[in-house]
Amino acid sequence: MNETLFRRIKDLPSTHLLGTGVPTCAGCGGLQALHQIYDVLGEKTVFVNAAGCMTLLSVYPFTPFRGSWLYTAMAAAPAGAQGIRDALDIQLKKGQITTDDDLQAIVLTGDGAAYGMGMSATSSAIERGLDFVYICYDNEGYGNTGQQYSEATPHAARTSTSKGPQGYPGYKKDLFSIWAAHKPSYVATVIGAEPLDLARKIEKAKEKQGPRLILALSPCPTGWDYDPKESADVGHLAVRTGIWPLKEYEDGKVVHTKVPRKRLPVEEYLKRQGRFSHLFEPMRNEEILTGIQERVDAYWAEIEG
């Protein structure tokens, strides 16, 4: 597919398909991304969910989804998608349902499931060539349980289990590359603050078959400790500082879809969030700040060649 329906902001859907009144926090970047994703994916979908913040979207007897939903468990959503996809294929083949009744299996999980507990189920679903879209809203921690660090937590971030002066000692795991190493049909990073880039990628993913990942960095006012009204700013800064590269993997190649022309210093992004405040107060932690900046620079140096 070469032509996109989404060339300008005004081409984006103006009303949302996903219902309102859900219990996510104000300013939830995960929900923002999900709204935009759902508008493009549409209601011929069954969302297969793992334990996390989004589990509370569908609380008996209500749901914001116009399509279907199955909650599984923290580690098992890709396997749930496998069972549904296989069962639909069997019924299509037997003529028990028509293609009108067919559904896209969409896995929806947080980073905790996607980067960690669900990794084995995910890797083997990709290996089997399962026809599904995996949406990971990445809030960089176990949000639902109170933002403990996960394998997606960035270096030095304060979480409820990394409260020391250095913050989280580890480094964010590269899920994009782990997926790409499986040679799936599509992998893309997105963010709700860049709706046009996001919509084009979902549009592309929707047209493809096989395993597809949409990895959405999801600014989380509650876990990242900033005012909910700043969610969009934090999202923009994640892209403009280059700490969250927008890219896609297709046909064996990685393409950056939005290369920040002049990258802002990464501390512009960090200092907006309470989870990094210990790097600035009571005094600047130059060593950690430089380290983070150097890693971002090294990443882009390799891309820009």
């Binding site: 008996y60 399509g67 199955l70 890709p78 396997a79 069972g83 009108d100 084995s120």
Partner: protein, 415 residues
Amino acid sequence: MTRKLLTGNGAAAWGARLAVVDYIPAFPITPQTEIIENLENWIDNEQMPARMVTLESEHSMITAAGAAAATGVRVFSATSSQGLLYAMEMLYTVAGWRAPFVLVNVSRGLSAPITLEPDHNDIMAARDSGFLQIHCADCQEVLDSVLIAYRLGEDERVRLPVIVNLDGFYLSFTREPVEIPDPQAVAHFLPPYDPENIRFRASTPISQAVAVLGGTPYSYFRYESHLAAQKALEVYDEITAEFAEEFGRPREALESYRTEDAEYLFFQIGSFATKAREAVDRLRESGWAIGLLRPRLFRPLPEKHIRQALAGKKGVAVIDQNLAAGRGGVLYSELASVLFGHANMPGILTSFIGGLGGRDISTEEYFEMAMVTRQAVTDGEAPSPRLLYTETELREVQKLQAIANMERIELGAKP
């Protein structure tokens, strides 16, 4: 109808084939693996139209099984031991989805220490999961139970997944003559699955297994499952009556062997109950009024049937092939709770743990258990639970330890 020599595993696979299952999520584990190998072989040779997928774990396998059942197809799966425990989170979860399918468990002792040989600690761990449980004593029963399990689980009054349990090695690898019913007769007994509203369709969106807030909706759904599981007893009786009519084999919820005039009874599940049957015959030859009760249906437990069968009896020897560490036998406590507070029930239950990790239970040990039970009735007091083990066995283990120790010393270790 044809007759074939089949292993318990072979009989389980035939059950799935005759049930014309659509979908088989799988994962290998001894002693179950032969079941999925048989099925894959038939599928590859176009003798069976199903689709089989090997997942990367039993946790995923049960998730895929439940999800496919929730989408409206007939699903079969099989596991053992560590696999069943690896899937435990999902056993509870998919039972709550109320999407029926059949899981065969080939019982095997749990690690540690790791072993391949059978006992019932694996299946007892799934006791409260919401899966119904049917326990088999021979290969024919394995095949029959798979067919019955589909009727039972899919019944609109039940809608729960069902585990059919058989003992590793003693059944899984033992060849016995098995009647393989005609597919038409099976189709008559077990028509294609009608998922009704349990399915995912674009035209009729549905949310399944959603979260609840608070104890009120939570309790509502848990009670619904419990009541459905209880209802399954009555449904089981109906279905097995039909089964007996169609195939001539009664598969009652509770098997009674030489119980009518018996004063004493053995109480046991699974294939080792055939050893108890033999002991009953031998004891009867020497004048004992003794019999055997074997629940085939363990979830739901046929409580009324058990009380009826035990009315007026003097004593029951309960043989548990499991060990709830720090407590004792699971079957023993289950039976005690069924009898307590009801009139005319036996005053004595004796508890024996045996057959762990494939350890045999000898006929002499059954004699001993009968004697202990009779003595307890005379004394009016049950002894504390016995762990079956012989002097010879203890000496064998001590010998192994002594040899290992000698070798250590020879290799220069300090004694």
